[in-house]
Amino acid sequence: MKKYNSEHEWITVDGDIASIGLSAYAVQQLGDITFVELPEIGATADKDESIAFIESVKAASDIYIPIGGEVVEANEELEDRPELLNEAAEGTWIMKIKVADMSELDFLMDEAAYNAYTETL
């Protein structure tokens, strides 16, 4: 099931590996994405820590991971084609993380709750 945090990252989990991306709402707010700084493979981070960075013409933003763990994969295609995020934000993962503690998922919003949240912004 897809979940979201309040910093507009989405997460899907397959076994103990979580894919993390940016919500369509966030990408729309940022406008044309021009650059994605990917995290290093093997880096570990806690929930809500910033380990990647995204830039558009008019804005820049850290990517705060919604769940703690170790980075096992980064979507290198984004280095050359950041526009993939504009084309399909919800379907383009940025990094994959080996989850340390599955219970952290409980703190995240489901799609309906997230949509309701963005309505308030």
């Binding site: 021009t34 650059f35 700084e37 830039e55 013409v57 008019k58 804005a59 820049a60 850290d62």
Partner: protein, 444 residues
């Protein structure tokens, strides 16, 4: 009233459009108790009277002596075209080029500036100028700290301009960082003790080549050692020296910083000059300041625009790479014109002449028995002399003979009582130098 064109008629018309009776109503929101308690200034003067005031100031300064002062600020030639072009009011009175359509002149000139600085320094990316060489160095140190996340140590070489060192220390004092300044032991870098300090806690090492004593070094071994532990090499250099000396890129330095005064800018009592900051492509997002790039417009025409603005304060606010907004654009423009006029061959030739002239004077002074050359290493266009008398006495005696003889090093270093930094540019002739040698002989 000067510089306000309003006739009484205009004022009346404007007030009635606004719907008020008197100009004083415009300030009605400012309570009486907050009004200025005093505003005791002189009466206004005509431009002619003001000019005379400043002509008097200018006369009370001394620019009449033959100048051998350097130390980061040099008396170089400035071709007339630099003034003529940079003073065109289309450049001079323009605003920051945020509206690309109305600023293609400034933007293209900056793109060319960036291109020329990259050629000169051997680096891949640069910005559209910083304030000066010292603040550029401080920003370079902050860049290194950002790039090497979690590392907190900056090492500064003993040969770095001591004024720049103070600026770096001031900028970094508010952060949880360690700035280690190496002790001066002779005119060069103490490579051995430096190598023993380089480990994976170091974010960056700052050096200057030629250094403040004028000495040239080879830093390749140090830079290799830095890179082995993931630390950055920050090189400061006087741009004219880069005409012949190894560039920052050739040394594999990660960041170049320097002062651009010598590229077509007046001494002006220290400002405005401008700062150069350049780096490798992979660090470009950590670079502060404005950057110009090429793109197409909606009709496919080549266009110049400010780019990567998401790094800057007006967008990123407290997450920006720096708070810099106004830079030294006009001085960078002067440098661009200066470098264009000199060109590939001219720049190299100018640089070589600086080296040859200074070498001549150094050689002639070394022949005087009681004068020693402090430098053990080769030098570029300045060097340190050791005198049998104190430097204050020497400088003032030389001034009486028509020379600004150099920089008294005891004002910036301990135990440097008898040492003076002497600089020679392409503007000094053999006659100047021979007379300088005669004057020195008389004094010592």
């Amino acid at each position: 009233m000067p510089y306000t064109p309003h006739t009484p008629n205009d004022v009346q018309k404007m007030l009635s459009e606004i719907g008020i009776k008197d100009e004083s109503e415009l300030f009605a929101t400012i309570p009486a108790d907050l009004r200025a308690k005093s505003f005791d200034l002189d009466e206004g003067l005509s431009e002619f009277e003001v000019f005379d005031n400043f002509a008097k100031f200018a006369k009370q300064n001394d620019t009449s002596k033959v100048c051998f002062l350097g130390g980061g600020y040099y008396d170089h030639i400035i071709p007339t075209a630099v003034d003529a072009l940079s003073m065109r009011s289309e450049f001079y009175t323009a605003y920051t080029p945020y509206q690309a359509e109305a600023s293609q002149g400034t933007l293209q000139a900056l793109y060319e500036y960036q291109s020329m600085i990259c050629e000169l320094t051997g680096m891949e990316a640069t910005n559209a100028s910083m304030y000066d060489g010292g603040t550029a160095m401080a920003e370079a140190a902050l860049m290194a700290i950002r790039i090497c996340r979690k590392r907190k140590k900056i090492i500064v070489d003993s040969g770095v301009n001591p004024i720049y060192i103070k600026i770096v220390q001031t900028y970094l004092a508010y952060h949880d960082l360690e700035v280690i300044v190496l002790d001066v032991k002779g005119d060069g870098t103490d490579i051995k003790s430096l190598l023993s300090m380089i480990d994976d806690t170091v974010a960056g090492y700052i050096f200057q080549n030629p250094n403040f004593f004028g000495s040239i070094g080879d830093y390749t071994e140090i830079i290799k050692a830095l890179h082995e532990v993931g630390a950055l090499a920050i090189m400061s250099a006087y741009p004219i020296a880069l005409g012949i000396l190894k560039s920052a890129g050739e040394m594999d330095a990660d960041i170049y910083c320097g002062d651009g005064q010598s590229l077509g800018n007046y001494l002006g009592f220290g400002g405005p000059s401008f700062g150069i900051l350049a780096t490798k492509q992979k660090y470009i997002r950590n670079l502060p300041g404005r950057i110009v790039g090429i793109t197409d417009d909606m009709n496919g025409k080549r266009s110049y625009v400010l780019t990567l603005q998401a790094r800057e304060q007006h967008i990123r606010r407290d997450k920006a790479t720096s708070n810099i907004c106004s830079n030294q654009n006009l001085m960078a423009l002067r440098a661009t014109i200066f470098m264009s006029l000199l060109g590939k061959e001219g720049f190299s030739k100018l640089s070589t002449q600086n080296y040859n002239n200074a070498s001549y004077l150094k050689e002639e002074l070394s022949k005087i028995d009681s004068v020693c050359i402090y430098n053990q290493n080769p030098t570029f266009n300045e060097f340190v002399i050791e005198l049998p008398i104190c430097s204050a006495e020497f400088v003032s005696q030389m001034e009486k003979r028509g020379f600004f003889a150099g920089l008294k090093l005891d004002t910036v270093y301990d135990d440097f009582d008898n040492r003076v930094l002497v600089s020679v540019t392409e503007k000094r002739t053999k006659t100047h130098m021979d007379e300088f040698v005669i004057a020195v002989k008389e004094i010592v």
